[in-house]
């Protein structure tokens, strides 16, 4: 972080920079050729009427121009390569540095600032490095070459031409100072803007749930307007530099015309020399312009670079690895002696802590919130740096260990574990892979068997969730080999469990109406194989619309659609849009305004008076209606009969229209649009009771085991993508996944910081049992616990109050003592 911007110029780019200089020198030399040739063409070829010289000089002129262009192109390629290489390297180094900055720093650093710094602010410094040698060199040498040429051509005119440059060298830096000041302001404002965007996206649930669109919009607009004002000022001053520079450059020819013209009239200067002079004078413009641009990039790049690097110039508490040794294999014992943790403001988070934990012992840290439980756990994990006293793991002082020592020996599960975008499997292997390395894990000796993964999934209780993800997968076209197996399982399932689950499942039966499917699914009774029969296109499908008419379904559907629209709008008219409110209605959150308008327009109209747009809107709504799911309206019996009649009519008609438009539900056919679960079930679950659903799951697991498909299903489930920050998982599933990944790492010391707080009672107890029975003796455990009914099996319970240990002992000892722990336990009961 302490590197200067200029130190990047030659870093790893020496060969490219030398090559650049050589090419530049050649280019400059070639650039002078056309100037000399202009004079010769006029004075020798045209004046002396020598066509052969004209052809020769023009040929050389053309060659020089072509060569100069090619060389310029090469220069650009090399420059780009250097710029991009340096930008990428700056990004990598800054990112790697940021990953190691102590956690305190991120309390005041919004993610948006980090994103903005790495993505945007390093681009200009990178561009500067690409230009750092080439641009000043090429243009200064060109300027000097032209200056020398002009002075040789006519010393007086040459000196006059350059007389304006010192003025520019004085004025431009003055304006640049203002540009730099505005650029710093722009960076601050951009950081705030990026942070705002990241915050809104991260908190989008809260924004939408509260309907806080206007609040967020106003905040955002304010920041954008502020940034706009700064940018306008910044750019205005930047253009002021360009305008000043252009003005002085354009004054050049004016002086040449006055003085050169006068000398030419007096016969003291040849016409060819004057043309060459004017031409050369004009050619000063480009190198000068490029120099000014370079100057601006240099200034902007310096400001961006310094400001970015100084922001992240934070001392890293512990070095990552030690150069002269491998990470320690530490003993599992922990000894804490007079440890204190004090904030910069002098608040004591931990006060004179003394604690000895033997290898393989299990210790629970309990106390009220704010008592210092987590601070103690995180200090042991080196995430907080204790301010005085000693803490050792084995015989090594924690504060002197490298990060590699800690990660080698310790696993940490926090209360809100972070789950990365990717599959369950990738997240599960995260800690293990970080410890053993990607190559060793994926291709080498550390490769894991499926059994290893299954074992930790079972220990953490995530096994059933993963199985469910597997069952809820819609398999892709390239996994066709499992289809016959699933069809076989469907038949076995129906045979073995069909009767047992009949009351909770609606089986696909051609002669039965499906209450838990929508009306479209009831009519089509199959999976659309062509786009025009997919739900989103049905209202443009004339065949389908005509069919609804022919089957006498249109008017009953319109009546139903009208009822749904009226009811939904009436109930939800005064609430902010929230997904939960719309789960009970076929109207989607984003469609509410549209249907509110429809309801308002058709209020006093009869069905025959509806416009086409309104008719389609109501039809679409009714077709999405599923009586088992949307309890807002009722389907009359006659309509159910019409739909069942229509199902057969549709089947017949569509065959004439398109042979393969729909893959109808048949017991021996796989339904590609449906999940594996629905394919095995060949129906839809209608019970919402978790106990009933659990029974269905148990039957399915029994089937998977008997058919030898359980492991394959787990593999499919582990490929479930958990979404950004694991958003597709529940809080409990995220915690279970974090526990499983620590179990997989099998560390010598485990720290669980309220790691099971989002789990239900049974899951918490299950994990506690696993810890007591399978991990006791193997791993030292320090658990911050808020539920006191699960601490009975711990070897030691440590009660903290205001940063101090006030009680310590086994469960029975503390209960007998009738002190703080007893009081808290009693309160919990």
């Amino acid at each position: 972080m302490n590197r200067t911007l200029s130190s990047w110029v030659l870093d790893g780019n020496v060969k490219l920079q030398i090559l650049l200089v050589i090419i530049i020198l050649i280019t400059v030399a070639i650039r002078v050729v056309p100037l000399e040739l202009q004079q010769r063409i006029i004075n020798e070829a045209i004046n002396l009427r020598k066509p052969e010289l004209l052809v020769k000089y023009c040929g050389i002129y053309l060659l020089a121009v072509v060569s100069a262009s090619l060389l310029k192109w090469m220069i650009n390629i090399i420059q780009t390569r250097i710029s991009e290489k340096v930008t990428a390297e700056m990004r990598k180094q800054l990112y790697y540095h940021i990953l190691k900055i102590p956690l305190d720093f991120f309390r005041n650093t919004p993610p948006g600032t980090v994103v903005n710094s790495i993505i945007n602010e390093l681009t200009v410094p990178g561009n500067f490095i690409g230009m750092a040698i080439a641009v000043p060199l090429i243009n200064i040498v060109t300027l000097l070459a032209f200056a020398g040429y002009l002075i040789i051509l006519n010393p007086m005119l040459g000196i006059v031409s350059f007389s304006l440059y010192p003025i520019m060298l004085y004025v431009i830096p003055l304006i640049q100072k203002r540009v730099n000041r505005d650029n710093r302001k722009r960076m601050n404002s951009s950081r705030i803007l990026s942070s705002k965007i990241v915050e809104s996206v991260a908190g989008i649930h809260e924004v939408q749930a509260n309907g806080a669109f206007d609040i967020e919009k106003n905040k955002f607009d304010g920041i954008v307007d502020h940034l706009m004002k700064i940018r306008v000022k910044w750019n205005t001053n930047k253009y002021a530099i360009k305008v000043t520079s252009n003005f002085f450059v354009n004054l050049g020819p004016f002086l040449i015309f006055i003085i050169g013209g006068y000398l030419s009239i007096k016969g003291q200067l040849g016409l060819g020399a004057l043309v060459a002079f004017l031409s050369a004078q004009e050619k000063l413009y480009d190198p000068w312009k490029e120099l000014i641009e370079f100057y601006q990039v240099y200034q902007d790049g310096s400001v961006n670079y310094k400001k970015t690097m100084s922001y992240f110039d934070v001392q890293i508490n512990n070095v990552l690895t030690s150069d002269d040794r491998k990470p320690y294999e530490l003993e599992g014992s922990i000894n804490i002696n007079r440890m204190n943790l004090e904030t910069a403001e002098g608040v004591k988070l931990l006060d004179d802590i003394n604690l000895d934990i033997g290898p393989g012992e299990q210790v629970a840290l309990v106390g009220f919130s704010g008592s210092g439980k987590s601070s103690l756990a995180l200090s042991i994990a080196q995430l907080y740096k204790y301010t005085s006293g000693h803490a050792t793991i084995g015989t090594k002082e924690i504060s002197e260990l490298t990060k590699a020592d800690i990660t080698q020996n310790m696993g940490l599960v926090s209360q809100s574990p972070f789950i990365f975008e990717g599959t369950i499997k990738e997240n599960l292997m995260y800690s293990y892979m970080a410890l053993h390395g990607e190559t060793c894990t994926l291709e080498g000796d550390c490769a894991l068997e499926l059994d290893n993964l299954v074992q930790v999934l079972q220990q953490s209780g995530l096994f059933v969730d993963v199985l469910r993800f597997g069952l809820n997968t819609v398999i892709s076209e390239n996994e066709k080999e499992v289809i016959p197996v699933i069809i076989k399982m469907r038949q076995a399932f129906q045979k073995q469990y069909g009767e047992a689950i009949a009351e909770w499942v609606e089986f696909f039966d051609e002669n039965q109406f499906l209450s838990y499917a929508d009306i479209t699914e009831n009519i089509i009774f199959g999976a659309p194989a062509i786009d025009e029969f997919k739900n989103e296109n049905l209202m443009e499908n004339q065949f389908f619309l005509n069919f609804l008419d022919d089957a006498d379904l249109k008017r009953p559907l319109l009546t139903l659609g009208k009822e749904i629209a009226y009811q939904t709008v009436d109930i939800l008219k005064n609430v902010a849009p929230d997904k939960l409110f719309f789960e009970q209605s076929p109207i989607k959150t984003e469609e509410f305004d549209k249907y509110e308008e429809v309801v308002r327009t058709i209020k006093n109209q009869n069905l025959h008076q509806l416009e086409k747009k309104q008719t389609l809107a109501l039809l679409e709504l009714a077709l999405r209606f599923s009586p088992g799911k949307h309890r807002i309206a009722l389907i009359p019996d006659f309509m159910v009969n019409l739909i069942l009649e229509g199902r057969f009519m549709f089947k017949e008609k569509i065959r004439q229209y398109h042979d393969h438009a729909v893959a109808f539900f048949k017991n021996d056919q796989y339904i590609h649009s449906q999940t594996i679960f629905n394919n095995i079930l060949f129906g839809i679950v209608k019970t919402a009771n978790p106990a009933d659903q659990e029974k269905i799951n148990q039957y399915l697991i029994a089937l998977l085991i008997s058919e030898g498909f359980l492991e394959e299903m787990i593999e499919i489930g582990m490929n479930f993508n958990v979404g950004t920050k694991g958003n597709k998982l529940s809080g409990g599933q995220r915690q279970k996944l974090a526990i499983a990944r620590t179990f997989l790492k099998s560390p010598r010391i485990m720290i669980l910081d309220e790691a099971t707080s989002a789990l239900d009672n049974n899951s918490q107890k299950r994990i506690q049992n696993v810890l007591s029975r399978q991990w006791k003796g193997k791993s030292t455990l320090i658990a911050v616990v808020h539920r006191l009914d699960i601490v009975k099996d711990y070897d030691k319970i440590v009660f903290l109050k205001a940063g101090k240990i006030v009680e310590m002992g086994t469960y029975d000892e503390l209960m007998a003592k009738k002190g703080y722990f007893y009081e808290l336990a009693y309160e919990h009961k």
Partner: protein
């Protein structure tokens, strides 16, 4: 034909409309505006249980309140490996309203003693409604406090007549 299509007790009425009628009569909700009661009726769900099924479990915060629509259930307390049946609930009983307001572990289990159907309201749905209509919590709290005060009054009467030491501990709870 599926029962959803045609209910015997009230033909041609949707489940929402039946729920609305019930919610209007539950004492905790009676002080609320029609707009809010409609949302409750809209967001609650029906759940069926067979005889012997647990509707909720002791020591579990299931985050739900229940209205027994049909059937019957026993409130059961398990302590020291013994089971005590506290009381029986019949149709039209409403249980667990406190679970809507805050995290609250159920101190008892509820077991269906006949095939039972409940209307279930979740804390999540309740919170969403309360976010939109902030006076909902206040209006629901009033009858709850009234019930608490009534319960204490009964305890005082019982204490006066029998002077049970166990009851003494409960006295003063309305002063929290």
């Amino acid at each position: 034909m599926n029962s959803l299509m045609n209910t015997s007790d009230s033909e041609n009425r949707s489940e929402f409309s039946l729920n609305l009628n019930i919610f209007r009569q539950i004492e905790f909700f009676s002080g609320l505006s029609m707009d809010v009661i409609k949302l409750f009726a809209f967001l609650c769900k029906r759940q069926s249980y067979k005889t012997g099924d647990y509707i909720f479990f002791q020591d579990d915060d299931d985050q739900c309140a229940y209205y027994i629509l049909s059937g019957a259930a026993s409130l059961v307390l398990k302590k020291n490996n013994k089971e005590y049946v506290i009381r029986e609930y019949k149709a039209e009983s409403y249980l667990g309203v406190l679970s809507l307001l805050a995290p609250m572990v159920k101190q008892f289990s509820l077991v269906a003693t006949a095939d039972t159907t409940c209307i279930v309201m979740t804390r999540k749905a309740f919170t969403k409604i309360a976010d939109q209509f902030p006076d909902t919590i206040l209006k629901i709290t009033r009858p709850i406090l009234q019930k608490l005060a009534n319960a204490e009054r009964k305890c005082i009467i019982e204490f006066e007549s029998e002077e049970k030491e166990g009851i003494k501990n409960l006295l003063g709870i309305s002063l929290i």
